[in-house]
Structure formats: structure tokens, C-alpha cells
């Protein structure tokens, strides 16, 4: 059932798709760069885990979804939330801890939730949201729906028991849940081979008898093709899957180690940056003649404007009033 497929012939790319995928990845990249700046200025609290380098995974995977499908993620979730369609202004306002943020400014960077786009949240506890995805899958089946759930998490979550409990459960109960492990080879400062006895994460699918597959997480088209296939199957016959997207975070774990170069060599980081997912798609689009230099510049300008607007919106939004402390604990 399981298979390793690291190289894939990327599917046909047309101009509309190219612009859409590049636009989303560029938006996330710009958003994160700006967030880092704002953090340095003391405007953002929390630790701030940037998604830079991994954009192809969120964008490629969510590009296969219908709006009524679900996505759920960890604390490194700005990218998933934006890719699922959340308003960048409200995401930025949440990072700023402001009243118009997605979580009323009470949640912060790790706790984005957006019901309007079926984004079931960012979660601060590693691995703890994996069973929640299974539950959402159960509810879909129970209600006779045909939506699917995409659940994003890091390689570190595979160390936790909840990964294995959830994997068994979706297999046993046949739930329409796609687990997408973003294997960036480090859990904070711990390299994968120092923490996992089995470093080919997709192989854990074999144990549970579900479909497992590794994909180049730097190639947005490969991610899209792979996830698209398992999403369609899950929609049709409730088959769960485990996808290992091989990727890399270009920045540190959080803003506490902004360069992330203590436990990784600079050479390694530089080498991985050569496979920047945005540059890869741009090159492919230009080569195929579906993107022009002018398209690329226009996209860059658009996302820069959108992110500036998001910052202006966040700045203008008031801090939550002290009375917010007591709301939403029980039904108000």
C-alpha cells in the first residue's frame, strides 16, 4: 500500500494555475518576512514560528481542496491559514494581539482559527491536534458529507504517541483524513536521525495499512499532484493517507534563534536555499512560457501591497479591552 515517490513528473502548468500558486506562496513569504520585522520592532509577542521555505507544502496541498474541506495545523500555521483563504489583515492583527485579529487578539501567532474558511486552528502542543483531525473526519462521515480534512504537522510530532494513536484510528475507522508531515529534518534543535528510529516517515503508514507517500515538498506542483490524488480518493471512499513532504525551514525554529544555524551548518542551510520553492516555480513557469517576467513582478507588487495593508490594518486595530479577559470562557 505504501510507496516512496520522491521524484515526480510535475503535471501540466497553465498560466492561471501558475499565477495562483506563485501568488499564494509569495504572499506567505512576504507576510512572514514582514512578521519577522514587526517582531523585531516589538509589535508581535509570542515566539513567532516562520514558515519561510515550506510554502510549497501549504499552497500545493490546500490548492486541491474545496472551500468546505477542512485544514488543521500546528503552531507554525500562518502559511496554512493564509493558504486556506484567511484575510491576511486579520492574521496580522492576531499576531499583533489586536482586537480585529482572527482570535480577537487573545490567541496570538500560534492560535489562529477561522471558521469562515474551515481552518480548525493552530495548536501549540506538538502532536496534540492529530486526533482532532480524526474527530473531524469522523464527524464528516457521521453526517454523510464528502469533505476531507488536511492535517499539517512537523517531523517532531511523529515522536509523540498521539501521532501513532491517530494513525491507527483513521485506518481502523476509515476516516477521510490526510496527514501531511512537513519533514524539515529538525524538531527545534534536534536533527531527525537523533530522535526517530525510522526516519522515512511515510513508512509509518505501512504499519497501519494506509497509503503512505513521500513527496518533494519544495515542488509545489509535486505536492499538488500527490495530495490531489489522495484527496480525491479520500472523498470517494474515505481512505486516509500519510504524506511526508520533504522540506526545509530557511529560518530558525522561532525568533529565539532567528538564523537557526547553531544545530545546522551554514553550508546545509545555504544548500537547501538553492531549492527555494518560489524560485523553483518561477523558473518552471518562465521556462514553460506560462509566466512572464512582468507577471512575476506584478505578483511581487501585489503581495507587497497586501502585506503592507495587513500591517496598517493591524496597527490601526485597538488592543483588546481588559474585559475581553472574561469573554468566551463559557457561553457568554
Amino acid at each position: 500500500m505504501a510507496q516512496a515517490k520522491t521524484t515526480i513528473l510535475s503535471p501540466r502548468l497553465d498560466a492561471v494555475l501558475a499565477r495562483r500558486l506563485l501568488g499564494q506562496m509569495a504572499l506567505i513569504r512576504r507576510f512572514e518576512e514582514k512578521a519577522a520585522e514587526m517582531y523585531a520592532l516589538g509589535k508581535i509577542g509570542g515566539f513567532l514560528h516562520l514558515y519561510i521555505g515550506q510554502e510549497a507544502v501549504a499552497v500545493g496541498a490546500t490548492s486541491t481542496l474545496r472551500p468546505d474541506d477542512y485544514a488543521v495545523s500546528s503552531y507554525r500555521e500562518h502559511g496554512h491559514c493564509l493558504a486556506k483563504g484567511s484575510d491576511p489583515r486579520r492574521v496580522m492583527a492576531e499576531l499583533f494581539g489586536r482586537r480585529d485579529g482572527l482570535s480577537k487578539g487573545k490567541g496570538g501567532s500560534m492560535h489562529l482559527f477561522d471558521k469562515s474558511v474551515n481552518f480548525l486552528g493552530g495548536h501549540g502542543i506538538v502532536g496534540a491536534h492529530l486526533p482532532l483531525a480524526a474527530g473531524a473526519g469522523f464527524a464528516i462521515n457521521y453526517q454523510g458529507g464528502d469533505q476531507v480534512v488536511l492535517c499539517f504537522f512537523g517531523d517532531g510530532a511523529v515522536h509523540e504517541g498521539e501521532f501513532h494513536e491517530a494513525m491507527n484510528l483513521v485506518a481502523l475507522w476509515k476516516l477521510p483524513v490526510i496527514y501531511i508531515c512537513e519533514n524539515n529534518r529538525y524538531a527545534m534543535g534536534t536533527a531527525i536521525h537523533r530522535a526517530l528510529a525510522q526516519t522515512e516517515i511515510w513508512r509509518f503508514a505501512e504499519t497501519y495499512g494506509i497509503h503512505g507517500e513521500a513527496v518533494d515538498g519544495m515542488d509545489v506542483l509535486a505536492v499538488r499532484e500527490c495530495v490531489g490524488r489522495v484527496v480525491e480518493r479520500a472523498r470517494r471512499d474515505k481512505t486516509p493517507a500519510l504524506i511526508e513532504a520533504r522540506t526545509y525551514r530557511f529560518r530558525g525554529h522561532s525568533m529565539r534563534d532567528p538564523a537557526g544555524a547553531v544545530y545546522r551548518t551554514r553550508e546545509e542551510v545555504e544548500r537547501e536555499k538553492q531549492r527555494d520553492p518560489i524560485a523553483l516555480l518561477t523558473a518552471r513557469g518562465l521556462k514553460d512560457g506560462v509566466l512572464s517576467e512582468a507577471d512575476v513582478r506584478a505578483i511581487e507588487q501585489n503581495v507587497a501591497d497586501a502585506v503592507d495593508e495587513a500591517v496598517a490594518f493591524a496597527e490601526a486595530s485597538p488592543e483588546p479591552p481588559a474585559s475581553f479577559l472574561f469573554t468566551d470562557v463559557y457561553k457568554d
Binding site: G45, G46, G107, M110, G161, T190, L196, E319
Partner: protein
């Protein structure tokens, strides 16, 4: 040795206890090569190697469960959980195993182990990275719950915790890690667990605090002296459980008034137990009901409003004034 901040003071205690006893091992996420999220275990991996300073997978239940197994066979593990908010991932191992092995095996096995965890807010972090959950541990028979208030007490109490034959939950305030430096002697220093300290003497009112709230209590005491001419006695609890009821009662017998300050939320928190203990130990001396100044009974709120949630000196002063005017 000179003046150390709390991180360096804790590091010194770990170093000296590891040198003293080769049964002492450290286990946790990123404690080795990386030196720990807050650098408390810095350099120990280099000195003692990977079998004594163990980088574990990201698996809290496995860390504590494994440490219990080590302790049953005579090792003295010191576990680091990166933030106290993650300890619910291993709560069953703490509550069901570490705390109860002595009782369950009728004294044949016991767990000499320490669980170090950074706790508390005031550092512009989010939810799990800011909470104070000492009440959960203080409630469990078989555990000791220790919270130092500065570099020197942190160093001495950690050494004592490592030598204690029973499991000790050791909370380290993130707000205090780099807050202040104190003179910490070179030679090994220990302090009795279960004993509170009079931080400041006074006759009009007793303020009971611990951890990062000691600073708040001190500040409030100063305001009350300057503005109200009131002499406040401040107790630095240091150990939440077992509670030093004698020291608290003796103080309240003298002052007749007490305010408890903690960062944990209020309902069923340490303040309730302390108030009950004062009722039992100093009832006839009480001039006013015991007041509590605590975080509110809500999940920890985002960084923008954390100072509304965490007790500050103004709230303590106001509660003290109410108590004095009662």
C-alpha cells in the same frame, strides 16, 4: 563565584550535583547538544557526555516514564520539560507513577527524581508558554512542589531536590531567569524543602508569595510602608507542598492579617489551601478574612493583556488596604 542570574545558578547546581553523584542524569528535549531552551543545561553535555545528559525525542510521556524506570533502579534522573504547559502530555506518568510508586510498592521502590519546568507569564508569550499550574502538583500526595524566588534559592533548592528521595516538581519562573543577579557561593549549598523564609519582617500584615510573585509582594510592602506607614511581613514560601504551615501561622498570629499572592488562577488554588491553613493555625488572631490576589479563572490571555491577568503590586496593595480597613 560571584553574582549569577538564575539560569547560571541552576546550571551550577546541576554541574555540582552531577560531579558529586554519578547516578544523576539529565533527560529532556534539546537539553544536550543544544543546552536547553533557556540554556539551563548549557555545556553539561560537553562535560558529561550523551549518556548522562540525554537528548530525548519530543515525547514527554516517554521522558517521564523512562525517568521513573531509571529511578526505580537507582538512578537519579532530572527531567526537563521545556515549558510547564507541555507537562499535561506526561501528567499520567507523574501522577500515576512517579508520585505513587513508593505507596503502591509499599516502600520497596521509590522515585528519586526531579522534574524541572519553566513556568509563569510576564514574558510576552502565549497560553501554554505562560501559565502557572502548581496547584495540580501541589494537590497530589507523593509529590513535592518547589518554586524558588531567585538565583540563590534556586541553586540551593535544586541541589536539595536532586538529593530528595521523593519526586520533586521544580518550577522555574521564566520572568526570573534573567531578572536579577545574586551572590551565589562557590561551595555547594542546599536548603531544606518544605521550609518557608521570612523575607521581610513586619507586624501589621502578612503577605505570602512565592516564585515571581515575591517581587510583587516586596514592591507592595514597600508602597504600604511609604504611603500607609504599615509594616508588612513578607513570607517567601519556596515550597508550595508540603506547605510550611508553622511559619505561616506564627506570622499571622503576630500580624492578624494575611494576603496570599499567586500567579496560578484562583479556584481551588494554593491560596485556598493557605487560607484554610491560617484558619486552622491562627483563627483566634485573625482581624480580617484572608484575601487572595491571583490570576483570574480564565485561560491565560494573549500577551497584549497579560498584565491585567497577572497580579501586580497595585492589586496587592489594594487587597492589603481592604484587609487593614476591615
Amino acid at each position: 563565584m560571584g553574582k549569577l542570574n538564575m539560569v547560571k545558578a541552576l546550571n551550577l547546581a546541576l554541574l555540582q550535583e552531577m560531579e558529586r553523584d554519578d547516578g544523576v542524569v539529565i533527560i529532556g528535549e534539546d537539553v544536550g547538544v543544544d543546552g536547553g531552551v533557556f540554556r539551563v543545561t548549557e555545556d553539561l553535555h560537553r562535560q558529561f557526555g550523551g549518556t548522562r545528559v540525554i537528548d530525548s525525542p519530543l515525547a514527554e510521556a516517554a521522558i517521564i516514564g523512562t525517568a521513573v524506570g531509571m529511578a526505580l533502579y537507582g538512578l537519579k534522573p532530572i527531567c526537563e520539560i521545556q515549558f510547564s504547559g507541555f507537562a499535561f502530555q506526561c501528567f499520567h506518568q507523574i501522577e500515576n507513577h512517579a508520585a505513587r510508586y513508593r505507596a503502591r510498592s509499599q516502600g520497596r521502590f521509590h522515585c528519586q527524581m526531579v522534574l524541572r519546568m519553566p513556568y509563569g507569564g510576564g514574558v510576552r508569550a502565549l497560553e501554554h508558554h505562560t501559565e502557572s499550574e502548581e496547584q495540580f502538583y501541589a494537590h497530589i500526595p507523593g509529590l513535592k512542589m518547589v518554586i524558588p524566588s531567585g538565583p540563590r534559592t534556586a541553586r540551593a533548592l535544586l541541589a536539595s531536590a536532586i538529593r530528595d528521595p521523593d519526586p520533586v516538581i521544580f518550577f522555574e519562573s521564566k520572568a526570573l531567569y534573567h531578572a536579577a543577579k545574586e551572590e551565589v557561593p562557590d561551595e555547594i549549598e542546599t536548603m531544606p524543602i518544605g521550609r518557608a523564609r521570612i523575607d521581610r519582617e513586619g507586624r501589621d500584615l502578612t503577605l505570602i508569595a512565592y516564585g515571581a510573585m515575591l517581587r510583587v509582594a516586596r514592591e507592595a510592602a514597600e508602597v504600604l510602608r511609604e504611603e500607609d506607614g504599615v509594616e508588612v511581613e513578607v513570607i517567601d514560601l519556596l515550597t508550595v507542598s508540603p506547605l510550611d504551615r508553622e511559619t505561616i501561622s506564627a506570622s499571622v498570629q503576630k500580624t492578624g492579617r494575611a494576603v496570599v499572592v499567586h500567579e496560578a488562577s484562583r479556584n481551588f488554588g494554593p491560596g485556598a489551601e493557605i487560607a484554610a491553613s491560617i484558619m486552622e493555625g491562627a483563627f483566634l488572631s485573625l482581624e480580617a478574612p484572608v484575601r487572595r490576589v491571583t490570576a483570574y479563572d480564565v485561560p491565560f490571555v494573549g500577551f497584549a493583556r497579560e498584565w491585567v491577568h497577572i497580579p501586580d503590586a497595585a492589586r496587592v496593595v489594594s487587597a492589603a488596604r481592604d484587609t487593614l480597613a476591615y
